[in-house]
């Protein structure tokens, strides 16, 4: 690579790093709390998490005809 190409690549890197430095950040405690809140709020809809009645999951054959 010629030194000319290196310089422009480095210039781009410096510009990119300046851009990334300018990102607004929040504390991990707040971010984590919000991730957790999303999980908890949507848990009941998550079939793989809570399981749904056998009859309503098209991939699980119903085990019996009895209605609970």
């Amino acid at each position: 690579m010629s030194s000319g190409a290196s310089a422009s690549a480095l210039q781009r890197l410096v510009e990119q790093l300046k851009l990334e430095a300018g990102v607004e950040r929040i504390k991990v405690s707040q971010a984590a709390a919000e991730l957790q809140q999303y999980c908890v709020q949507n848990a009941c809809k998550d079939a793989l998490l809570v399981g749904i009645p056998a009859g309503s999951n098209p991939f699980r054959e119903p085990r019996s005809c009895a209605l609970l």
Binding site: L19, V28, L35, N42
Partner: protein, 353 residues
């Protein structure tokens, strides 16, 4: 000129030191906000119970390694692609094959279902991404209606339609990602920044706007603004190739799976890695990751033939699923979260629920 050479070297040296100092500052800024670990915040959340997840369907028909798969929005159809050049559309309820096309190349590493369910996109060693309309006319030759959309200078590793059938996002071994207009084949935007092959990409959930994340052989995960082509955030904590990236359902974070045998969670608003999913006993690379609907579970397929299920919040593994007889290469949760599908080098796909 001797003086020009000296000036150039000074410029290079000063740019290098500026870059190093900026990197250092970035790490410092990120570290300042690292006041707690995710699993500590999650201590108060109820632990997960035992999981009963089994293979409910096995899709057999590929003649060689399954490399990629995607769900149709109808939560039932699946498209898969293989090393032998075949792309198959399945009805996962009945396991019937509805469409099949043979690509002119082997190693079809990427495939995707169009949002309308009326077309699929695929590509691989042909360096292209092609779109095939799906028709139920038995006399129609699927290959005849093929439309070449994307052209890269190296293999296609991943592709995804955006919110409509009209645009496709691609990732390539040539180190770039690109956004294409399907109808005209025109390049709308290209994304440069990875220092090596890009292996995966995922679009942010539509509510969160026009961004996507990509992962590559340079060990970096990069978040891009689709309109400007700019990389807005980059994360370099993995120790090897990133094979898979997937957004957390809220769009505020994304997970990655890597050849370094770990999966990691990066929060976009905290701008840092917030969790690592690993165990000493897991030494093979993670090839593919996806979240359950609520984001609480992370399913990850590995090169040791297993699928590990992780508690995203607490960081612990909650289940290990056996069944595939070779590497798991691809894994996606269905659109309504009732099941997930895995594809493997053992030539089969399995639907788990």
């Amino acid at each position: 000129m001797a003086t020009d050479g000296l000036h150039e070297n000074e410029t290079l040296a000063s740019l290098k030191s500026e870059a190093e100092s900026l990197k250092g500052k970035l790490e410092e800024e990120r570290a300042k906000l690292h006041d707690v670990e995710l699993h500590q915040v999650a201590e108060r959340v109820e632990a997960l119970g035992q999981f009963v997840m089994k293979t409910r369907r096995t899709l057999k028909g590929h003649g060689n390694k399954v490399l990629c798969m995607d769900w149709c929005k109808d939560k039932r159809r699946i498209v898969s692609s293989s090393q032998d050049g075949k792309v198959i559309v399945w009805d996962s309820f009945t396991t019937n094959k509805e469409h099949a096309v043979t690509m002119p190349c082997t190693w079809v590493m990427a495939c995707a279902y169009a949002p309308s369910g009326c077309a699929i996109a695929c590509g691989g060693l042909d360096n292209k991404c092609s779109v095939y309309p799906l028709t139920f006319d038995k006399n129609e030759n699927m290959a005849a209606k093929k439309k070449s959309v994307a052209m890269h200078t190296n293999y296609l590793s991943a592709c995804s339609f955006t919110n409509s059938d009209m645009q496709i996002l691609t990732a390539s071994g040539d180190g770039t990602c690109a956004l294409w207009d399907v109808e005209s084949g025109q390049l709308l935007q290209s994304f440069h920044g990875h220092g090596a092959d890009v292996l995966c990409l995922d679009l942010a959930p539509s509510e969160t706007g026009n961004t996507f994340v990509s992962g590559g052989c340079d060990k970096k995960a990069m978040v891009w603004d689709m309109r400007s082509g700019q990389c807005v955030q980059a994360f370099e904590t993995h120790e090897s190739d990133i094979n898979s990236v997937r957004y957390y359902p809220s769009g505020d974070a994304f997970a990655s799976g890597s050849d370094d045998a770990t999966c990691r969670l990066y929060d976009l608003r905290a701008d840092r890695e917030v969790a690592i999913y690993s165990k000493e006993s897991i030494i093979f690379g993670a090839s593919s990751v996806d979240f359950s609907l609520s984001g609480r579970l992370l399913f990850a397929g590995y090169n040791d033939y297993t699928i590990n299920v992780w508690d995203v919040l607490k960081g612990a593994r909650v289940s290990i699923l056996f069944g595939h007889e070779n590497r798991v290469s691809t894994l996606r949760v269905s659109p309504d979260g009732t099941a997930f599908c895995s594809g493997s080098w053992d030539h089969t796909l399995r639907v788990w629920a």
